[in-house]
Amino acid sequence: MKNEEKIKQSLEKQFSDKIEVEARSKQKLWAKVDANISHDVIKYMFDELKFQYLATITGTEEGDNFEVLYHLQADEHSILCTLRAVLPIKKPDLKTITDIIPGAIWYERELVDMFGINVIGLPKGNRYPLPDGWPKDVHPLRKNLTQEELSKYPKEGK
């Protein structure tokens, strides 16, 4: 658990009380921050802590908040750090991380389509993964929609 502790300490030192870090098991770290500093934390992790790889981004809904989970890895000791960014459903603004790691683009597009998170600065391109003609304000993975309700969309034509 030596490396885990090291990363934990340097993250806590840099962001003090704005971050909660927990080493739950071997090679797995879980951290929690507010969405407005998640970009800075990821930049710090990539620049200073030798993180190199973004495995994926998971979106979840928890009460009145969205939680966006960045699964990041440092090649040196293969620690998978899950950084949780919390943002309110009422104002779901999130800064893109494609400037730090371009591979994030498809995962961020997924957040836009599936949850309706407003990713600021996302490069233009095709939507993913919903079909053409799917309404822009219906987001399948929101908890207030059931499968039956979703089956109605897209309404025009087959």
Binding site: Q27, K28, Q52, Y53, L54, A55, T56, T58, T60, E61, L69, H71, D75, S78, L80, T82, I101, P102, G103, A104, I105, W106, Y107, M114, G125, N126, R127, Y128, P129, L130, P131, P140, L141, T146, Q147, L150
Partner: protein, 397 residues
């Protein structure tokens, strides 16, 4: 020279992988590639939130027909982590055997498809013939050729008898010989070298930036393998090498996959010869959690990552699946740019995007406004013709 836009796709059979590629050409050279994915989007993640934990094994196996065991195993690992179940050693060994056999069948499948794309159909028929041996072994163990349904929460569903172990070992012996032959063909056959070397180059720094994974990344020198770095099952107890290449092209990907097959055989032999004894499953609770877990699994195509959130009921609150091909798509656009249209099918096939054979494209010439339809097969024929002009002919083989 008029700029031509060629839509390639959308037919790519897989869960999230099917995509359409809008290729902008200047003459033969691809200047720009724009992707549209999501053609097979069915809504599995939402459906998983409406089914219970046991039903979800069945559903998640059907995320992908080729790496079905990978998805099911990554999912049950998450459930077991949250429920704090101790899986018996024998169950772990059986999961590993099925997983490695799956890797063998997937790599042989890819080798055949790559052969087909470069116009070397003999290789396609040969490697698919030998792939049947792997499927025989899988059928012997699980009773099915494609979806094995071996996993249950807390273990596996079927035990392996001593006769079955012997039979699989016998199949491995034959396979090893054949694989050696393919390595010779793949690395020495001058026609394969001519079509793959220097094609679809992805330098290491680009591979890192674009989060390439699996054989795609390892062929560009990204030394990453979940089996070694974060050992799951019994991978910390077996001896194997992680294959990397520095050539960064399609040839490198071919070599990585071919040598990985040898390593898979090595792992399989070690596990089969030292099968742990004991139970194959422990009893699992119906209600799981609350809790969350994230687990990774080295699928044949690369790292497969699953996230699971449980809320204490018998249905999960969130299941997230990221299949390896999605991670590799960001590099495809880069590899296509600067290469020729003739190489496009091979480059797309080289990431092993689960594969397509009825991929169709329409050719629209912007200068004249004329349009026509070109099937994937015609494109393939065109690419073979193009290489004939350069003096490489496969039809004479």
């Amino acid at each position: 020279m008029p700029k031509i836009t060629v839509p390639l796709g959308p037919q790519h059979p897989a869960l999230k992988e099917p995509g359409s590629f809008m290729l902008s050409l200047e003459g033969e050279e691809i200047k720009d590639a724009v992707l549209r994915l999501g053609y097979n989007h069915r809504g599995v993640e939402k459906a998983a939130e409406a089914r219970n934990y046991v039903q979800n094994i069945y559903l998640l196996e059907r995320v992908c027909g080729i790496c079905s065991h990978a998805h099911a195993t990554a999912y049950v690992h998450n459930v077991e982590e949250i429920a704090q179940l101790e899986v018996p050693q024998r169950a772990k060994a059986i999961r590993m055997i099925v997983g490695e056999l799956e890797r063998l069948h997937s790599h042989l499948l890819w080798l055949g498809v790559a052969g087909h794309e470069i116009g070397f159909d003999t290789l396609f028929m040969y490697s698919w013939r030998d792939r049947e041996l792997v499927l025989d072994a899988l059928e012997e163990i699980s009773g099915n050729r494609v979806h094995y349904s071996m996993n249950s929460i807390g273990g596996v569903r079927r035990d392996m008898s001593n006769e079955q172990i012997k039979k699989v070992l016998g199949i491995l012996k034959t396979l090893e010989k054949r694989i050696k032959y393919y390595i010779t063909v793949g690395t020495e056959e001058s026609t394969i070298l001519a079509r793959t070397q220097g094609v679809g180059v992805l330098p290491k720094d680009e591979a890192l930036k674009r989060c390439a994974t699996g054989p795609q990344g390892r062929a560009s020198g990204v030394d990453r393998d979940v089996r070694r770095d974060n050992p799951y099952l019994l991978y910390d107890k077996v001896d194997f090498k992680v294959i990397t290449q520095d050539s960064c092209d399609v040839f490198g990907r071919l070599v990585v996959r071919a040598l990985e097959m040898v390593e898979s055989c090595k792992i399989l032999k070690q596990v089969l010869e030292n099968m742990p004894s004991g139970d194959i499953a422990v009893k699992a609770p119906i209600k799981i959690g609350p809790g969350e877990a994230v687990n990774r699994y080295e699928a044949p195509r690369g790292e497969d990552i699953h996230y699971l959130k449980a809320n204490g009921t018998d249905v999960p609150a969130r299941v997230k699946v990221r299949a390896p091909t999605l991670a590799n798509f960001e590099s495809v656009a880069y590899m296509l740019e600067g290469d020729t249209l003739a190489d496009a099918p091979l480059i797309i096939a080289a990431i092993d995007p689960c594969f397509s054979c009825t991929d169709r494209m329409s050719l629209v010439q912007t200068g004249t406004g004329k349009s026509g339809i070109m099937s994937f097969k015609e494109l393939r024929a065109y690419s073979i013709e193009e290489y004939k002009k350069k003096g490489i002919d496969f039809s004479k083989l």
